[in-house]
Amino acid sequence: MIRLIAIVVSLFATTALAEKMKLAVTTSFHNSGLSDLLLPVILEDTGLEVQLLIVGTGQALRLGEAGDVDAILVHSEAAEEVFVENGYAPYRREIMYNDFVVVGPQTDPADIASADTAVDALTRIAIIKAPFVSRGDASGTHKKELFLWTSTKLDPKLFGTWYNAVGAGMGASLNTASGLGAYILTDRASWLNFANKGELDLLFEGDPILFNQYAYLPIDSKRHPHVNIQAQRLLESWLTSKRAETLINGYTVDGTNVFVFNAFR
């Protein structure tokens, strides 16, 4: 009973004094597990309570445009540059990168494991019309996948029923791929952290085209005067600090490094 009371009391007592800010991040950043490691340290080091909104890159950009968050952390360079150009953020600052991989059924009917490039791998899947799951939600991962299809000179709009655009987050899409025994493009961190791998296996990796850069964009305070500028700066300086570098580079899932810190100081 005492323990119960202690819990209830501590629920109301937590972080009453901390400065708060809202940060929209991509599902892949959160599903990787990195946010669970970083947020408590940020709170401890800077007293800043970062409230995460876990959405796709498309929705994150939309929340930023409306001024509903103080900053965004996303991975879709072309869309970010348009965002800055339109004046929603004064600049974008690169923080870290990871990479995309193609996972699929262990039997690998399209034999993508022996493909030379990511484009080659996707072409092989399209030729035999093996089941493929697409995020289909305008997220950074989805945009990357569409970019790869453009390079194959194939049009996903004309694909048949083997191409499943599920319109869901990374984890939910992986669940679908796992259920269907389908191929899917995913970021490495989400894949390593995914608990329902089933018959799926990592089949293709390492092509430089699959590089995945994360950038931090503070929302412009001239357009949205209510944003918390102090918190924006505090978080940016922490994310680009030596401490962040050590933590990000040292983060492993199943013994594999997943993120590489590359912010300029």
């Binding site: 819990i7 629920l11 937590t14 409230q51 876990i54 445009e65 409306a66 509903d68 669940n175 791998k197």
Partner: protein, 234 residues
Amino acid sequence: MNEIWAGIVEAFRLIITLDRDLFEITLRSLQVSMSALVIACIFALPFGTWLAIRRFRFRRLTIATLNALMGLPPVVVGLIVYLLLSRSGPFGVLGLLFTPTAMIIAQVIIITPLIASLTHQAMRELWAEYHDLLISLNTTSRQRILTLIWDGRRALLTGALAGFGRAIGEVGAIMIVGGNIDHATRVLTTAIALETGKGDFALALGLGFVLIALALLVNFAIHTLSRTEQEGTW
């Protein structure tokens, strides 16, 4: 089958170890849905009763609309409330988006038509019985509504519990307007959606069983407190 079993085990583990996060999101679920229920009842009970006793020109149309709104899609409600409360929307200055208040507003909109409609159904029968008595006593409209609400309270309880059930199990709207922020707006249903997304089915199911248990508990508690289904009082 294995996974369902793992979910049951996980539910017990969470409850027995008094998991701190579980307590927090369960309390928030209750707080949001109970607040929504109380506010919805303040509007819906008098309105539903008033509809039963009052004859006016667009009555049939109003009732049909109300019945149709029972099936209001939560995602659409969420999206509209989001656009209204967004910093770029008309009520943006209030800064309510991504707070429990925004979640309560969305749930009130979702469950008010449901409770009002069920109230109207129950009150129509009761009004047929009470009609002559209340008219002959020359009661005011206000007195009639209050009498009907009081004497029909058991039927209204069912309506309110249906509303509560819809609110506590709802995920589409509160995900959009609440944002599922850890330690701020995360509730049981949005946590279940999140864990499912991570492929952690055991934890998701565990939370699901906690949610079902909570709904049962609230229903039992309300029935006990209001002494329904007991000898002599039902």
